[in-house]
């Protein structure tokens, strides 16, 4: 399941695919051949791809199933949007502002990833999955009751209601509980998204091809054996999980700066989102970063492409998902595919 060839040229094919896809999309945009609906999907596509790459590092290379990556996205989104809203007037250059916001969002997600990983990585298997799910839900829940504002006397923080802040007349709400953050500058774009994906891919490819990456994979394959040859299991597990969370956080930054209103709903930062990202990772191939990006793009576009079927589209999406899993993984289907392949080969040789 984890056998992956790590040939160098394979990596460049991935970059090339991303760049070609970018050029094609830009060309379509310039010639005006893209519907506004598709244009609106470009940044979300990058967000999901980025998050899927991050989760794949955790699932594919660390070998731990995390169902809480939407929580890290949430942290990245809210911390960076908070910064951007507050500094909107102080820093007018949107690129500089976005880069600082990106650093802040990623750093916060990494910090939380690290803090959560310390207790969580003591568990394994399904228990680890359910605890990461729990952490993700806690993050979403706490963000929903967070009220932060400032006035001439300074900052006010509350976790009960807007009134409890006691803001003065001239005060400004930044995070308004369930209403979230409004007025985030629209700093992210498709170009930035593609650049982030390429940076993330470079990071994960270099990591997995390094001494550190091999240490992480050895823990995944056999923790006891890895420990016995002197690999610091805890350190490498923490490292991989933190980087994975940081990438998810950067996806959150991209997500937040694409919307003027940021709220933590079950739909965007709940466990459903974590599961959706996991679906991208598994369908794209566990441990295969290129597959993650492609699966994220196809599965995000699929409901939109099926829009003509109106009400039935999500039903068909579900059926396609089940059918793809059965086709890819069922032992009977695998045997059938091999038979088919052998048949094709035979006819090819005869002809």
């Amino acid at each position: 399941m984890f056998k992956k060839n790590l040939k160098k040229n394979n990596v460049f094919v991935t970059y090339a695919i991303v760049v070609v896809a970018y050029i094609v999309v830009e060309a379509l945009l310039l010639t005006g051949n893209m519907s506004s609906l598709m244009q609106g999907l470009l940044v979300p596509l990058c967000t999901y791809s980025l998050c899927a790459v991050g989760l794949n590092l955790c699932v594919g290379y660390l070998g731990e199933l995390s169902l809480g990556h939407a929580g890290f996205m949430c942290i990245g989104a809210f911390s960076s949007a908070f910064f951007s809203v507050v500094m909107q007037d102080a820093i007018t250059n949107s690129i500089v502002r976005f880069i600082i916001a990106l650093i802040i969002g990623t750093a916060f997600a990494a910090l939380f990833g690290f803090l959560i990983a310390i207790p969580v990585l003591r568990l394994n298997g399904d228990y680890l999955a359910i605890v990461t799910l729990a952490f993700g839900e806690i993050i979403k829940n706490v963000v929903n009751v967070l009220y932060i504002g400032y006035d001439s006397t300074g900052w006010h923080i509350s976790i009960s209601s807007q009134q409890a802040l006691g803001l003065a007349e001239d005060g400004t709400m930044v995070i308004n509980g369930a209403q979230g953050i409004t007025g985030t500058p629209h700093d992210s774009s498709f170009t930035i998204g593609v650049i982030l994906i390429i940076i993330a891919l470079i990071i994960v490819h270099n990591l997995t091809n390094s001494r550190t990456g091999r240490a992480v994979m050895s823990i995944r394959d056999n923790q006891i054996a890895a420990e016995s040859v002197g690999i610091n299991v805890k350190k490498y597990k923490l490292l991989a999980f933190t980087i994975s969370a940081a990438i998810a956080g950067s996806a959150g930054v991209l997500y937040a700066h694409n919307l003027s209103t940021l709220t933590a709903l079950p739909k965007n930062f709940g466990y459903n989102m974590s599961i959706m990202i996991l679906v991208f990772v598994v369908l794209g191939g566990i441990g295969n970063f290129r597959g993650s990006v492609i699966a994220a793009c196809i599965l995000t576009l699929l409901p939109e492409l099926l829009r003509g079927l109106s009400d039935y589209r999500m039903l068909i999406y579900a059926i396609v998902l089940i059918a793809m899993m059965l086709f890819n993984w069922a032992p009977a289907a695998i045997v059938w595919r091999q038979k088919l392949k052998a048949k094709f080969k035979k006819t090819g040789e005869e002809a």
């Binding site: 207790p119 568990l123 729990a134 006891i224 579900a318």
Partner: protein, 294 residues
């Protein structure tokens, strides 16, 4: 007095979680898979009961039985179509993702059939509320029925597993599938039976849940489903008494947390307690400790 009332409501909600958790824990014990679609089976069961009881005016008990039949069939069909082909798949994640697909399928099918608007469920329990302590403490009929039913189900299930051949076969399959097969146990039939029981119980849980919290939408099942799974893990997954203890503790914590700490943070409190328990006892309250072999 209000504390006692909260406690009883918590036990009642916890009983519902416990019944749902049974479905998770039995399926997990036997098929080693997390059946994400279980919560949506609950929702389907509730809709069946809603249509037969609230709209067609069928006798409440008949309505519950009908919803159980539908859910049992549904559970067996899901197992046969979506999970069985993947039982020997190399990655455990494959069947998990398929279960997620089934969950999406059920939600969206319900959305098409029943519509997105929430419907108001009328309680199937017609028992009058019990007044205790001179009228200070009013316990609704639904609450009493939920708790009693939960205990009856637990009792029956324990007897079923301990005393019947089919129950023993379930235990054997959950211990070791191959050895069970060699002893002449029909493994496929046993797994199908587990899904049937779990889904039938899900129907009861759905009706009880909607009797207490009467809004029903196609998404009603997913959050209680996740919480019940949490309860199953809390009590030690694979253990039936564990599901009861985990479910009731979770319900009580949720209701007390909502009443005394913060209504908005009740879910966060539930999950925080789960994390603490798992960190202290990684296999849950009644779970078997996992041994690591070299």
């Amino acid at each position: 007095m209000s504390f006692v009332l909260y406690l009883i409501n918590g036990i009642s909600l916890g009983s519902v979680y416990a019944i749902i958790a049974l479905g998770y824990t039995m399926v997990y014990g036997i098929a080693k898979m997390l059946n994400f679609a279980h919560g949506d089976v609950i929702m389907i069961g509730s809709y069946v009961s809603f249509i037969t009881f609230s709209q067609m005016g069928v006798n409440p008990i008949v309505s519950v039985v009908m919803s159980m039949v539908v859910c049992t069939l549904l559970g067996v069909v899901i197992e046969r179509v979506a999970y069985k082909p993947l039982r020997k798949a190399t990655s455990p994640l494959a069947v998990l993702i398929t279960a997620i697909g089934v969950s999406y399928f059920l939600q969206n099918a319900a959305l098409l059939i029943f519509g997105a608007n929430p419907v108001s469920f009328t309680s199937v329990v017609t028992l009058s509320p019990l007044k205790l302590a001179g009228g200070d403490l009013v316990i609704s009929g639904t609450t009493i029925v939920t708790i009693v039913l939960c205990l009856i189900i637990m009792g029956c299930l324990m007897i079923f597993i301990k005393k019947t051949k089919a129950g023993q076969a379930m235990l054997a399959v959950s211990e070791d599938k191959d050895a069970a097969q060699l002893m002449g146990i029909n493994v496929n039939a046993t797994i199908a039976l587990t899904f049937a029981i779990g889904s039938g119980l899900a129907a009861i849980a759905g009706v009880l849940l909607c009797s207490a919290y009467p809004t029903l939408t196609p998404y009603t099942g997913s959050m209680p489903g996740i919480k019940a799974f949490t309860a199953a893990v809390f009590g030690g997954i694979g253990s039936i008494p564990g599901a009861l203890i985990g479910g009731i503790l979770l319900g009580v914590i949720e209701i007390l947390g909502r009443a005394y700490i913060s209504s908005q943070l009740s879910d966060a409190i539930v999950f925080a307690v789960l994390i603490v328990v798992l960190l202290v006892k990684p296999s849950g309250i009644l779970g078997k400790p996992m041994r690591e072999k070299v």
